[in-house]
């Protein structure tokens, strides 16, 4: 995919890899909380 995105990069919508990591971290712990409370 060509680098044609003016926000993020061709591989991610986030401004940096670190930002993407933090989003993955937040999403994972949100899912873990849902599993803990709902299952």
């Amino acid at each position: 995919m060509e680098d044609k995105f003016d926000r993020g990069s061709a591989l991610t919508i986030f401004p940096s890899d670190r930002y993407e990591d933090l989003m993955a971290l937040a999403l994972s712990f949100l899912i873990a909380a849902l599993v803990y409370f709902l299952v």
Binding site: M1, E2, F5, D6, R7, G8, A10, L11, T12, I13, F14, D17, R18, E20, D21, L22, M23, A24, L25, L27, S28, F29, I31, A32, V35, Y36, V39
Partner: protein, 532 residues
């Protein structure tokens, strides 16, 4: 700029998903499900069909009636259509193409002499990635889906972090020791080899440095992390990424075929893929392609992958020192870069997320205490009496003919402790303790009994091990996060990005990549026991 591209497609996708779930629920898909043998997926067909279909319909209606205004909400909402597009491809591949290919493979076996679907490893993971590659290179990803496709790496990273919930201390200790030794040898060895060959072939130090990190550690992210300390140019990073992608994609398809033909087990294959494949995403792809019906191989492979990511700081510091020395020896001006600063700013912290999730899980909040690999021991009569779908009670104590099979074969067992455990199993018609369960597992793994005898022991072991519901939920979620990430990853593998590979970096990368893949295969086959 407004990112949401107005289109009817999310609405169409949503209607198809909800319609399919409804047909499954009403029983009208029963003949198709029976023909494809996909009865085990009915639960997820309903849940995911309604859930994603509902979201896609809402997004489609929003596309129709609401005008998007420039801003963060428009940017992030614009990803929904692409996510639905990837999920639609994943559903078609997992619930349709995969079982259809398995049927065709079996049907053609008598005329071809082999099961082509099995030999070519045509399962949903491989076909999902292939579908993504075909979509992007033959048809082009629709512009309304592009932002969603750029979320696939987030899916893979989330899957890796959630995977942390599935390990126990005992499991991590066993795999961790092995992975540190294997990864230590192969990461440090391949970095050293690239540096040596690069110097001999007079490659620029910056090119050699960035290539060594990419080939040695964990692929693209390692190359990007090491680039500042060796002052690599954009073109050199592009060469490295092209080489890693080309080699990684080939390995992702070839490793599972080789692994199956060599009869490798989950632990052996996971160790090999986690060591020998250059890029992290392709490690996950190969592991799931090898074992599409479960995530045991993925768990092993990811431990190895995470171990090598943990080597990244060492490699970055090593390359910083190596680069400065080489440049000074050539009497060139070199601008010193703070290696520690680079490590802190570039280290992939989702790996720390994995460790945090493991620590959280090891407090026992997701599975009963003393769980191992998410399963726990319970041999109470209540646990051994199960009900099938029709409500009929099933007694999982050993039956008379199963006991007779074991009695006939008892003399084949040479170890006294194993023999005593089997005697207690015969007397009680069930495994009576965790210690006896370990003995039973040992006999199964030793393959000392006949096929029938081993099947009886496997059943006796299986009925006293129970998977915690929360852990089972994590497994399903993780498998879907990886499926989403890998189909999306396929949509990012373009011919133009692979074409960036070439020249000396491709030659050196291929030499070291092959040595690493073959070397790790030999070491794993010789040293890694399947029963670890």
């Amino acid at each position: 700029m407004v990112y949401t591209k107005r289109t009817l497609w999310p609405l169409v996708i949503g209607i198809v998903m909800v319609g399919y779930a409804y047909l499954v629920q009403s029983g009208q898909m029963e003949p198709v499900i029976k023909f494809l043998n996909t009865g085990r997926y009915v639960g997820e067909m309903l849940t995911l069909g309604y859930a994603f279909g509902g979201v896609a319909i809402a997004a489609g209606l929003w596309h129709l009636v609401a005008a998007s205004r420039e801003g963060h909400s428009d940017y992030y909402f614009s990803t929904i259509a692409g996510v639905m597009f990837i999920m639609m491809v994943a559903f078609v591949v997992k619930w349709g193409l995969d079982p259809l290919m398995a049927n065709w493979g079996r049907a053609a076996q008598s005329s071809l002499g082999f099961n082509f679907a099995s030999v070519m490893n045509l399962n949903y993971v491989v076909m999902g990635i292939l579908a993504g590659i075909i979509v992007v290179n033959v048809f082009k990803v629709p512009d309304w889906a592009e932002n969603g496709v750029r979320l696939s790496r987030l899916g893979l990273k989330t899957g890796v972090i959630l995977l942390g919930a599935l390990y126990s201390f005992a499991e991590l200790a066993q795999l961790g020791k092995l992975s540190v030794i294997l990864i230590g040898i192969f990461v440090l060895g391949s970095v050293w080899l690239v540096l040596m060959i690069g110097v001999r072939r007079n490659l620029p130090n910056s090119m050699t440095g960035v290539l060594s990190a990419g080939v040695g550690v964990c692929g693209v992210s390692a190359a990007v992390a090491a680039a500042p300390v060796v002052q690599a140019k954009s073109l050199e990073i592009a060469y490295t990424i092209g080489t890693i992608l080309l080699f990684g994609v080939l390995c992702m398809f070839l490793f599972p075929i080789v692994g199956k033909s060599l009869g490798m087990g989950y632990v052996q294959f996971g160790a090999w893929a986690g060591t020998g494949i250059l890029n992290s995403a392709q490690v996950a792809g190969a592991a799931l392609a090898f074992q599409p019906g479960g995530i045991e191989t993925l768990k092993v492979a990811e431990i190895f992958n995470i171990t090598r990511v943990l080597f990244l700081p060492i490699i970055v510091v090593w390359l910083a020192i190596w680069y400065v020395r080489r440049e000074q020896a050539a009497q060139r001006d070199v601008q010193r870069v703070d290696a520690m600063q680079v490590v802190i700013s570039k280290f992939p912290i989702f790996v720390l997320g994995f460790i945090l999730m493991f620590l959280l899980s090891s407090t026992g909040i997701f599975a009963p205490a003393r769980h191992y690999q998410g399963s726990y021991f319970d041999n109470s009569d209540k646990a051994l009496m199960k009900k099938d779908r029709s409500g009929k009670e099933i007694n999982n104590h050993l039956k008379a003919e199963e006991i007779a099979t074991l009695q006939k074969e008892l003399d084949k067992i040479k170890r006294d402790d194993q023999k005593a455990a089997l005697t207690r199993l015969i007397e009680n018609k069930k495994v009576i303790s965790e210690e006896d369960d370990a003995m039973v597992r040992g006999v199964i793994n030793s393959k000392a009994l006949s096929k029938e005898g081993t099947a009886v022991l496997s059943k006796a072991h299986r009925v006293v091990r129970h998977t915690a519901p929360k852990i089972a939920q994590f497994r399903d979620l993780i498998a879907w996060f990886f499926t989403f990430g890998l189909v999306g990853l396929g949509m990012q593998i373009t011919v133009s990005s692979i074409r960036q590979a070439g020249g000396q970096p491709l030659v050196i990368g291929s030499i070291v990549g092959v040595i690493k893949a073959v070397g790790s295969l030999i070491v794993v086959m010789l040293l890694v026991a399947e029963t670890i």
